[in-house]
Amino acid sequence: MDLKELYQEIILDHAKNPRNKGKCNGYNHDAKAHNPLCGDKVHIYAKLDQDKNLSGLSFEGEGCAISLASASILTDTLKGRDLQFSKKVTDDFLSMLKNKSKITLNSLSEDQVTTISSLSGVQQFPMRIKCATMAWHTLLAALEKKSKL
């Protein structure tokens, strides 16, 4: 196990300065989750516009560096992208942690792939996988719900 892999620069940066915190304007999908064993919480807000683009995406929450970084990276990566694509990235992310597969989506920038992949260090820490996946599961839950509008 390697702590340096887990707490990479990128992750610490996102954890300390999370992007897209708060409720995004005009959100029409949202969902909450929490991990009863540790108290981590996340609330995802998404604005899905008529073209099926996530024109708004943000989160509120509290938790460990991994869960905050994960939520921050999620919103940063998927904001402005379309629904289809966002779901695909989410599946790939979850599969990265579950099956140790690699993230290789064509329409993500190299930077973005690096950023998401920075969370792959969690693979080696089974008790922390929930921390990394919670936000992504919550996004799926939010998108599955009926629009609020």
Partner: protein
């Protein structure tokens, strides 16, 4: 046996964690087991195992005697008045559920009040919540003060003619506060209110004497007392055990079973339905012997020394805030660190072989009050030493390095 090198009695310390010696600071969660307890478990299964109380062959006789001897051992250790006051359960959680269910069924009506504290573990809240749902009872929470204690006056204030049960922890698994049980019992006696003590954290660390404490119920988890998994104890005054209806139904707890009616055995059998955890009960005798050999007072003195040392050491670290500052404290140090979440602390410490727990420790009400969702907890057992604290402290420095705080 010597407390200074007691680690050698515990086989778990022979292994390395991530290449480092194990520094186990998670005993409030569950304690490790001495070799004598483990050996008793295996040799019981190897040479004496049989179901108890039901057959008359030699193995069954042996097993039954060992089982009932263990009850006597527990009775003596707790200084209960009678052996019939000792019920074996699955754990402290079941002990408290048993009381909430059986006492609640008979004695709790709509509007009755159950008095607990903000310090309580979910095990001493959720079972009472069931009565709130089923019976319309009310739950009142005695407030914790800024030191992480619950004062006797706070409890006094909340008692009234509707109070039908006071259920409080002996030793908080978060702030480490030792509550003034004897004073609560004296207060409650005046008003004829039964007192249940959640002794899960008290029993492994404090001298406990049922006749001196005077409480009506006392719940224990054996796995936190150097004993095996899956076993608990409910001490209850005989008058209650006679009055309360049985909790679970099954073999052994009956007197006569007819098609249209069933009568029940007397205590303790009435509350021990089905096949018991014979091997665990027998092995738990060895856990008590282990504690007795060292002397619970010596254990407490030793643990307190290590704890004081730990608190002093952590206080010097200015990123750390220690949760609670109770006057009487036992073997638990909960803390938080500026800029590092407890979960991350626990993961980083583990890299150095230091096992602590992070989370709300099944005390969400208390954490809500503290305004933080989670804390890091180092909790002690007899096997811990100042050296373990030094390693904890070094590992904490490593957290700061990694998080650059």
């Amino acid at each position: 046996m010597n407390i200074k090198n007691i680690k050698s009695e515990f086989p778990i310390f022979k292994q390395k964690i991530n290449g480092k010696p194990l520094v186990y600071l998670d005993s409030a969660n569950s304690s490790q087991k001495p070799q004598t307890v483990i050996n008793r478990l295996s040799n019981f299964y190897e040479t004496e195992f049989s179901n108890v109380g039901r057959s008359v062959h030699s193995l069954a006789v042996k097993a039954t005697n060992r089982f009932e001897d263990a009850r006597d051992k527990v009775k003596d250790y707790l200084n209960a008045k009678e052996r019939e006051e000792i019920i074996f359960t699955k754990g402290a959680t079941e002990s408290i559920n048993l009381v909430a269910s059986s006492y609640g069924e008979r004695f709790i009506k709509e509007g009755d009040e159950i008095l607990i504290t903000e310090l309580e573990h979910h095990s001493n809240y959720v079972p009472w919540h069931f009565l709130r749902q089923k019976k319309g009872a009310k739950i009142k929470f005695a407030s914790v003060n800024e030191n992480g204690e619950v004062e006797i006056d706070e409890i006094k204030k909340l008692i009234n003619s509707k109070t039908k049960m006071i259920a409080i922890t002996h030793l908080s698994n978060v702030t480490g506060a030792i509550l003034p049980i004897k004073k609560v019992v004296d207060l409650a006696k005046e008003k004829n209110i039964p007192v249940l003590v959640d002794g899960t954290q008290g029993a492994p660390h404090l001298k406990i004497d049922m006749q001196e404490l005077g409480c009506d119920f006392y719940a224990i988890s054996c796995h936190k007392m150097y004993g095996p998994n899956g076993l608990g104890i409910l001490y209850a005054k005989k008058k209650w055990l006679e009055k309360l209806p049985p909790y679970q139904g099954g073999g052994g707890m009956i007197s006569e079973v007819l098609k249209d009616n069933i009568t029940f055995a007397s205590t303790p059998t009435k509350f021990e339905a089905g096949t018991m955890q014979t091997a665990e009960v027998v092995a738990f005798s060895e856990a008590i012997k282990f504690i007795e050999k060292l002397g619970i007072k010596n254990i407490q003195t030793h643990e307190n020394e290590v704890m004081e040392y730990g608190i002093e050491k952590l206080k010097k670290n200015n990123s750390i805030s220690i949760i609670g500052n109770p006057k009487e404290r036992g073997s638990v140090i909960c803390f938080s660190m500026k800029g590092i979440h407890p979960h991350d602390i626990a993961t980083i410490l583990d890299e150095d072989g230091v096992a602590i727990r992070a989370g709300h420790h099944c005390c969400q009400v208390l954490h809500d009050k503290l305004g933080i969702p989670a804390t890091a907890r180092a909790s002690l057992g007899v096997y811990n030493s100042k050296d373990d604290i030094d390693k904890l402290s070094e590992a904490i420095d490593n957290c700061k390095k990694i998080f650059k705080v």
